[in-house]
């Protein structure tokens, strides 16, 4: 038995948002009697952090602390229409809608503050800590909370905003495929290190290095969650998962987690991530949703690394020990492909 080391690379881009557009999202923002702000949505948080990222976006756009913002979602009686959390559209579409709603509420907030301070609203700024003051004169200030109370109980004014974001629907040409699919793309490049056991066909992924370009990490820890978990899912797809192990035959389909295989906590792979941020002009603060694209480069990188290790091309997923052993048999044994070409001593 020999463990053959292999290294594989893949690079991808990923379209952010529903293909062809035509998928609106709406948001509402209003102040509460104690001077906080409520964001009301119909967006779905299925673990990606929708409630959290829209909260941060609203706080930033309002110019107030995150602790003064709450997100309420998803009740169709109170939250306005949203197409849903899919196609990496949540942050892009809903984030843009929240920016617009928060901007409208902020405008009213500054007007209410201007009335209290007896200044021009255009001269007011927020300090992000809960205060509104005259630009260049921090002492002439009023708190956001006092502003909201004054607006409601003294001025008879609402501090509220509406936002919608809708990318216009694009058609697809029948003859050429001409279309405007999406407006921004995330990127990734990834290198997998693994070993292949030429006696059992078992692959063990030993290391991941990655570079993910996400526009802007609106919350770096939420991005990290996606990238770590997404890479795990990529390895799982590449080496383990299938509902139909004999596809296209439907026999022996797994019906539980004992037969539907996935890597467990014992198969954690060290993952070294670099995050690049090239903000997309039409994305909220430039951020591109990283949730879907993060798994994609792992699959081909694993396949390329297996080839690098033993010279077996597995073009059909998942890459099971059986497929590797059949490939080894066909090749008459392992054929390690060696180091990258530019490496000293590499093939060139």
């Amino acid at each position: 038995m020999t463990l053959h080391p292999g290294r594989g690379f893949a690079a991808i881009n990923y379209p952010i948002g529903m293909n062809l557009g035509g998928d609106p999202s709406q948001a509402l923002v209003h102040s509460t009697p104690d001077g906080k702000f409520m964001v009301t949505l119909s967006a779905i948080d299925l673990g990606q952090g929708m409630k959290s990222v829209t909260r941060q976006i609203a706080a930033e756009a309002l110019g107030i602390p995150i602790s003064d913002v709450y997100v309420d979602t998803a009740d169709s009686d109170t939250g306005p229409h949203d197409m849903g959390s899919f196609a990496s559209r949540g942050t892009h579409r809903m984030g843009n809608a929240v920016i617009r709603a928060a901007t409208e509420a902020r405008t009213q907030m500054l007007e209410a503050a201007a009335e209290e301070l007896e200044v021009d609203a255009a001269d007011l700024v927020t300090d992000g800590k809960g205060n509104i003051h005259v630009r260049g004169a921090p002492s002439r200030s009023i708190t956001v909370a006092d502003t909201a109370v004054a607006a409601q109980f003294k001025q008879g004014r609402t501090l509220a905003g509406r936002g919608i974001f809708l990318v216009p629907l694009s058609d697809v040409d029948a003859e050429t495929g001409e279309m405007t699919p999406v407006s921004c793309f995330a990127h990734a490049a990834l290198i997998i290190d693994l070993t292949v056991d030429d006696e059992t066909g078992v692959v063990e992924v030993t290391n991941i290095n990655s570079a993910y370009e996400v526009g802007r990490a609106l919350n770096p820890k939420l991005v990290e969650q996606q990238l770590i978990g997404g890479a795990w899912m990529g390895i799982s797809h590449a080496l383990y998962e299938t509902t139909e192990p004999n596809y296209p035959d439907r026999s022996h389909g797994p019906e539980d987690f004992n037969t539907y295989l996935m890597p467990g906590p014992g198969e954690i792979v060290p993952h070294h991530i670099s995050i690049l941020e090239r903000p997309a002009p039409d994305a909220p603060y430039g951020g591109k949703g990283p949730g879907e694209m993060c798994a994609n480069p792992v699959l081909p990188a694993v396949a390329n690394a297996v080839y690098n290790a033993v010279g077996v091309r597995c073009d059909s997923l998942p890459i099971t020990p059986e497929k590797i052993l059949r490939g080894l048999k066909a090749n008459g044994g392992a054929r390690p492909q060696g180091q990258p070409l530019n490496t000293p001593g590499g093939r060139r």
Partner: protein, 159 residues
């Protein structure tokens, strides 16, 4: 169908209810007693989302007959937080971003609590063993393992 009376200790308080002979503990906890913290993930004993502690040992409540807990002690995530605040595991999961969708979290917490209760200073391998029966689809497990190790290093609470 005749129901059987069952009396047991749930998170330190006496609980009494009547159960069908075939009822599983998960349903009795959730629908019978309103403790919604254990989750249904498979009903087969293969995912761990329904993990509770029975007399301190982790059990899969979806495949545990409710009748069998007569006179025993059951702990769920609902009872982890006490008057002193969050349990160190809860705090570590929170600070360590060890949950995304949160659905496997109660089961993970109980599997981890069983470990820390009997082994306050586990190795990484022992943590991995302890949660090997709990499936998480979001996190890739690493933040969960790290959070459990962090909780183990946290100052012990008295009481």
């Amino acid at each position: 169908m005749a129901k059987t009376p069952v009396t047991f200790t749930l998170n330190g308080r006496e609980a009494a209810t009547f159960v069908d002979p075939a009822a599983n503990l998960l349903d009795v906890l959730r629908r019978g007693l309103g403790d919604l913290s254990p989750k249904y993930g498979c009903g087969q004993g293969t995912c761990g989302a329904c993990t509770v502690l029975i007399d301190g040992e982790p059990h899969l409540s979806c495949v545990t007959l409710a009748e069998t807990i007569e006179g025993r002690t059951v702990e769920t995530t609902n009872g982890l937080q006490d008057s002193a605040g969050l349990h160190p595991l809860q705090q570590a999961f929170m600070d360590g971003f060890a949950a995304q969708c949160g659905y496997c979290t109660p089961g993970m917490l109980m599997a981890a609590k069983a470990l820390l209760d009997r082994n306050p200073s586990p190795s990484r391998e022992e943590v991995i063993d302890a949660i090997a029966g709990n499936v998480c689809r979001c996190t890739g497990y690493e933040p969960i393992v790290d959070a459990i190790l962090t909780a183990a290093r946290a100052p012990r609470r008295t009481g």
